[in-house]
């Protein structure tokens, strides 16, 4: 492990995620979740202000 690391090992085939079929959809879920939380927090503050 004392040698430079680049180039070690072959590129492994990309496994699909266990839900939603593709990684792109899972990433979109995380980002949509964030957008949802921002909207929720914004209105939460406005409703109780």
């Amino acid at each position: 492990m004392s040698e430079p690391a680049a180039g070690r090992g072959p590129e492994p085939p990309e496994e699909p995620p266990p839900l939603l079929g593709t990684w792109g959809r899972l990433y979109a879920l995380v980002l949509l979740g964030l957008a949802g939380w921002i909207v929720l927090f914004y209105f939460f503050g406005r409703v109780f202000r």
Partner: protein, 564 residues
Amino acid sequence: MSGWDWLVLGASLAFIVAYGVWKGRASRDLDGYLLAGRQMRWHVVALSIMATQASAITFLSTPGQAFTDGMRFVQFYLGLPIAMVILAATAVPIYHRLKVYTAYEYLEGRFDLKTRALAALLFLIQRGLATGLTIFAPALVLSVLLGWNLYWTNLLIGGLVIIYTAWGGAKAVSWTQFQQMLIITGGMAAAGVVVVVLLPDYVSIGGALRVAGELGRLNAIDFSFDLTNRYNFWSGILGGCFLALAYFGTDQSQVGRYLTGRSVTHSRLGLLANGLIKVPMQFLILLMGVFVFAFYQFHPPPLSFNPVAAQQARSGPAGESYRALEREHAMSFASQRAAADRYVAAREAGDAAAVAAARSDLHRAEAAAADVRARSARIIESSGGTAGDANYVFLNFVIHHLPVGLVGLVLAAIFAASMSSTAAELNALTATTMVDIYRRLLRRAPDAAAEVRLSRWITVAWGALAVFFAEFASRLGTLVEAVNILGSLFYGTILGIFLVAFYVKRVRGAAVFYAALIAEAAVIACWLFTPISFLWYNVVGCLLVMGLALLFQRTGTDPLPVAP
């Protein structure tokens, strides 16, 4: 603390240490010791990532921040899910493909040895100091509120962590973090339920939130753009994203967590689960602080939540003035409570005129209470104490208002949080020292068993250094901010190095190395000489490294070939 509380606390700590030692008993080589044999499933990786980031400071200081400053701190975490997606898509496959032990190993293949050594060194300095703070912060609060000796509390937390981390390595760290997160969740959920139950019968959850909202504590999202405003939407999304990219993508205490995943899929899922859960989790912790704030609108709060500072002020030269302020504070609370009662009743009745009148009374009472607190803070400071008491609000509430047994559970949660972060940090410091410094620079290659033995001693040494630093850390303002400011001084530069490595293939080692040195000097200058808020240091450091590296490469003299 009652006997039951001691029993709950003692049993929890004994279980964690014994479980960690047992789980980590089979590490026979560096792969097992530093990366748990790369065999962890995604849910263990996810909880390990969360437990590493959420130190005791998170649980002690965050509710206090909501109490004093409202919920705007949640914006600090808005960039985190974006960073999780970027890292899952880019960094995770690279680290897995190269089978690295540390993030810095990758830099040598991409650039050169000196860039790898610089990044590793910046990490060791920053994380070596921050680990001391991770131990010191809860020890300070516990020692002040429970009358424990600070030095022995530091030693207790540090000593327990060193035992199982040194013995069991990454496997012990990951598995104990799983258990620790369960204890933390249980303790915090119990405290959250109790604070709501303790509100007066006539105050509903909505009523409590309306009072808190009226007094500016529900300011979760602020879209105004201001570089000197520490927490707003833009600093959170941009600065927070850069900070999270740096922390999760280049800080070995986090990289080491998801490198324990058994495949790219498990590491990615661990990061993405964190991206989904972290923001609402922080929101709930802040919301608990808001409920503590609402609770103290109806129950008398102490003038200072730090009993040691208050006692120092009472017995100091201005003691009589402080006692007079305490009496004034009690009267001010009476009018504050009456105004809060009127406000809740008016809102329940839907009487707009009464709401307007009560609102004005509520703000007047809040201003009067703030004035008393400001004057008391000056007396506390003049008597040698620390005026800020945000770190003490939550635990003060827990100790004085939670039922027997639950106090022990919340204390166990705080210990667990401190131990989980510290353990991951010690494991990362050991991995970097062993792989990037000892093996690489000293060019030693002893047998596997000797390497594990040496790694154990390195863990003990870093642990001892962290405890030593913890003994000397004090007067740091709000502790959670102190840790984040320290991180932000270095993260931007490290992130810049990694972003150039990942995405700007034509830049070579010498260009990025000198760019990093200049960027780090500029970030430190920003901290010392400008009012720019610390989250922007990450952006400044990162962009400077990238810009200067490109400039140096274009005009430069680096003769090294581009790595394949």
